[in-house]
Symmetry: C2
Subunit: 288 residues, 2 copies
């Protein structure tokens, strides 16, 4: 039974912890977080500032911090001989991140899976398999309807905003519309804030609209959907769709990736580089 | 550029050959078949009785023979240092086949992928990935509407039959109905033939019906469909669907598996044991 720590106790950290608890081959050994109070729903588990403060050194750790804070934490864990999986989601930095983490992993003689989850992660795996089955053709990825954590955070950071959620709405065939719901801070100018948001790099090349409202609490949901469709030779068509609770599915993919990390050679990997059977419990013969 | 031979020139052999021709990193070098006449649509390629009769020794071979004839042919190729992929489809013998082929592959210092195609093959990969994303839940696989080559052959082998096709019709949630279209040989008793078919191990535990007709030529189609659905935690739902020309898709999966075989360590593998990126052309950075 592998002992796993959750690094971070936000939506994803808690969902990953729950997924570990559901796994017969892994057990949760605690949370690493800034606040030392127990994590809601996980009161019986230790909640400490460093992995080295846990009663026992964990075998693995799932990194559920904001992407910009992941690398430092993950390197330290890997170099201490702890296997890791992270939900790093800055697409443009994935390769550089993997390269640096591979060095730490080899130092600690362990392995890590970088950018695990739905996107990046499973969606790239599905696209590759679709391309293997229909090598010539066209492919579309539709995201949503669902709230984008990254885009919502980007809106909130533009200033003048109490709270904001950015929903991704699929128009079909890879085209999207973003609908932003925001609450202005008192005295802020609506036009000015709107300009700041729409000129941000997250939105400047996107179709989007902003609704300023008195309250957006009822707009907070964690449901999400996605669909990948590929059209190929001789009328061939492949389609993959996903819907459900975003943190729950992400947490489950992270836990399955944790299982896979333990059986890779020292190094850093993307999900696309992992044999699918490695994500599953038990022998291949039993699984099939 | 890897040189690939197609072993067999039936529907699947020709479709695999076409897929190799479409691949920028592989080239077709000929067919191995009993008859020495050129293969229709591939007249410019040699058609010979043994791989050793080709102008040049191929790097790889795709085995598209009836399953029961595959092993002997594949072992010889592997032991001669030729990488192979086969479309072996007898589920109950997959593990034993893989074990025996692994020995031949190691002898020849090459590798092979066993049971490549849609089922067995890609469908197991998709099920594993779905299980990784939704570890607790229920899953259904629906096949069809489409003709089952295996079931059609089983009907034809029962005697008293001129020709027959068995269609797999999905009732949903993993339940199926088989509709058999058959032409009786002159003087055969309909009731007796029907009894022989329905008591065959392919059909005895199945919902099915038989239509005896004067001609079934118009019932020959190679289109097929399949759908895998998984329902998991917190309303999570995953769905994968495939439709198109059965030999074309199978041939394309075989060609992509051929590419993957070249970069595995000596041994025999199922598709579920291959990193998804290995099926694709070019570097991971370019693909992603």
């Amino acid at each position: 039974m592998k002992k796993i720590a959750a690094i971070g106790a936000g939506n994803i950290g808690k969902a990953a912890a729950r997924a570990i608890e559901l796994s017969p081959d892994m057990e949760l050994c605690g949370f690493i977080r800034r606040e030392l109070k127990p994590v809601k729903g996980f009161e019986k588990f230790p909640s400490v500032k460093s992995v080295f403060d846990l009663p026992e050194k964990p075998d693995g750790a799932i990194i559920c911090l904001p992407s910009v804070l992941m690398e430092e934490a993950e390197k330290e864990l890997l170099e201490s001989g702890i296997y890791t999986v992270d939900a790093f989601d800055i697409h443009s930095e994935l390769f550089a991140m993997r390269k640096r983490l591979a060095e730490s992993a080899k130092k600690g003689k362990v392995s890590c899976i970088v950018g695990a989850g739905w996107d990046p992660g499973l969606d790239s795996v599905i696209r590759m398999l679709m391309t293997a089955a229909l090598p010539k053709g066209i492919m579309f990825t539709d995201f949503g309807p669902g709230m984008s954590m990254g885009h919502s955070a980007a809106v909130r950071m533009k200033g003048g905003i109490e709270n904001a959620f950015s929903y991704t709405l699929p128009l079909g065939y890879g085209e999207h519309f973003r609908k932003i719901y925001a609450v202005l801070k008192p005295g802020e100018d609506k036009k000015e804030v709107e300009h700041r948001i729409l000129s941000d790099k997250y939105f400047e090349h996107e179709r989007c609209s902003i609704d300023f409202l008195d309250s957006i609490d009822d707009f907070f949901t964690t449901g999400h959907s996605a669909k990948i469709t590929r059209f190929g030779e001789m009328g061939g068509k492949l389609s993959f769709s996903l819907s459900g609770d975003n943190p729950t599915i992400t947490g489950q993919i992270l836990a399955s990736s944790m299982r896979a990390a333990f059986i890779q050679k020292p190094g850093a990997y993307f999900m696309t580089e992992i044999p699918p059977v490695d994500f599953c419990i038990g022998s291949l013969e039993k699984i099939l």
